[in-house]
Every structure is written in C-alpha cells, then in structure tokens.
Amino acid sequence: MQLTVNGTSHSFEHSPSLAQLLETLSLTGKRVAVERNGEIVPRSRFAETLLADGDQLEIVVAVGGG
C-alpha cells in the first residue's frame, strides 16, 4: 500500500496505524500534529487510527518564524 507523507510517497506491506507510522519515521514522542486527508487526527487517536491505501498525511511541527 502507498501513503503520501508530507508530499512524499511511502510503501508499506501492511496497513500501519498512525502510531506505527510515526514510529517508523522516528517521530514517536515528538510534538507533532497530523492531518489525514484534510482532517486533524487528535493525538489521543494515533494508536487506533488505521491508515488506508492512498491516504494523504501532513505531519507538522513548530519552527522559528515571524
């Protein structure tokens, strides 16, 4: 299955949960916010959110800005 994460395509053999995806990306425990297909996924639901083929994900952090 294919996921698009921050505009880049990623392949997975099985459908991961959002929490598993974040672990794969070394983002577990980091302060991030996630939008899945245009909808915010609350942090409390990362573990139970199963990702599906073709999902578009945006994972963001706070950075310096004016």
Partner: protein
C-alpha cells in the same frame, strides 16, 4: 500596571517577537530573553522526515510554559491553507487558540491578500480561535476585521522584512483612533526609533522579527527594541508638547539678565 490586554489576558511587555532567521536556537533564546517579549510567533511546517532523533527543537529553546506561543500562517496564500495551518497548530499546541492570521498575496512584496484574510478570519473566529490579524494599513479593512471578532489588528508599517519603518503614520493614526481592540504594528520596523514612533502614535504594541534577527548583533538589538517600545509607550502616555515652527518662549528666565 500598564498592561497590554489581548483577549482578556494581560501582558506586561508590548513587544512581540518572531523566532525566525536566527543562526541557531541558542541565539533565538538569547534574543527573545533580551527583548523581554512574552508573546513569540512560530511557524507551522512539515516535519523534516528522517531528521536525526534528538535534534533540538524550538520548543526546547523557548518552553511553551514560559512564553505565549503565537502560531502564524506565514507563507499561506489562501484562506483555506491558513485555516488548515491554524487547526494543525491548535492540535500541536494542545488546544491553544491565540493565533496570528496572515494571508499573503504576492511572493515578491509579501503584501497581504485582504480578501482571503477576511474570509479566513470569519471562519477562524466562528471556530473559536482568538485571531490576531496581519493587515494592510487600510482603516476600513482594519475595522471590518475587528467587527468580525479579531482580538487584535496588526497593520503593516511597511512591507515584511523591508526595515523601511513607519511609512504611513496617518493611516496608522486613523486605525488606532477607530479601534476598540489592540492595534499592533506588525512588519516594517527596521530600528529602535521606528518602534518608538509606532508606540508614540498610540499603537498598543509592536511585533517584529527581521529587525532583531537581521541586526549585526541581534541580542543587543533585542535589548534596544525593548527600551524603544517602553520609551515610546511612556512618551505616548505622557502626552508630547505641541509642535510649533518656532517659539518665543525660551526655557530660561527672561528676567535677571546681567548688565541690564
């Protein structure tokens, strides 16, 4: 206590600072500390996938427990992108709802797109956000943004990152006279005197980033800006003397001169 009150919350500092363009997080932290700012703007961006674990983050340098974060929508060119960005910011910052809305219209000048800004402001206010809004210095638009429910209007003094200073004090004056919410000059300040002029006009605060981060010595400039904002505020409160082309009233006594 002469506090700046935004959405019911008092702040003793009237200087708000951005956190971009510094050479590293240590410099960011030292400059923000020297500025005395309590509200700091941050941008929301995609994570750098594959970055080394344990890499320092802005949140480590400026703990959200010590500063009021003001997530912005810098780089957004449509109402939709700005709204999505701030919803992500609210989730990222645990429900924090004080935000800076800016919708740009032109990548060359970074002039704001006020049609899209008005659209986004309507949606965000209805969605429960406390919106501090970057705006052109059009007094009518500024008033409309206030009527929509924005908690502060933030007109440009000149273009973002230009350092050109206060180019249209007359428009700022009209915006200040009409506003019932805080007016904060956002963008265009280049040096300390610009910040003082904005405050002397009666602005409630000044927001800046490049004027500090782009100085040769950002930490020293941050300290200068702190003093300029305080000095300008005190001068405004004190009420300046009227301007006259010349005065027939010298400061020293006209009587008791020797030899007369």
């Amino acid at each position: 206590m002469d506090n700046l009150i935004i959405a019911g919350k008092p702040y003793s500092s009237r200087l708000l600072v951005g956190t971009g363009k510094y050479k590293d997080f240590d410099e960011t932290r030292r400059a923000v500390e020297a500025s005395g700012a309590q509200i700091v703007t941050v941008a929301i961006r995609r994570t750098n996938i594959g970055q080394t674990a344990g890499e320092p983050s802005l949140l480590d340098a400026l703990p959200p427990s010590q500063y009021t974060y003001l997530p912005n929508t810098a780089g957004c060119y449509s109402a939709d992108d700005a709204i999505r960005t701030l919803r992500l910011a609210r989730e990222l910052l645990d429900g924090h709802d004080l935000v800076k809305l800016e919708v740009l219209g032109d990548p060359k000048t970074l002039y704001p797109n006020m049609v899209e800004t008005l659209k986004a402001a309507e949606v965000l206010v209805k969605d429960g956000f406390k919106v501090m809004v970057y705006t052109s210095d059009d007094p009518i638009i500024a008033k409309q943004l206030e009527e929509i429910g924005c908690v502060a209007v933030m007109p440009l003094a000149s273009l973002i990152g230009s350092g050109m200073g206060i180019l249209n004090p007359w428009n700022l004056q009209i915006i200040i006279d009409n506003a019932k919410v805080p007016v904060i000059v956002d963008a265009g300040v280049g040096t300390a005197s610009d910040a003082a002029i904005a405050m002397e006009l009666g602005c409630d605060g000044v927001l800046m980033n490049t004027a500090i981060a782009g100085a040769q010595n950002p930490v020293l400039m941050a300290s200068a800006m702190k003093k300029a904002v305080e000095a300008g505020r005190e001068a405004f409160l004190a009420g300046r003397m009227p301007k006259k082309l010349y005065s027939a009233s010298p400061s020293s006594p006209t009587t008791g001169m020797i030899g007369k």
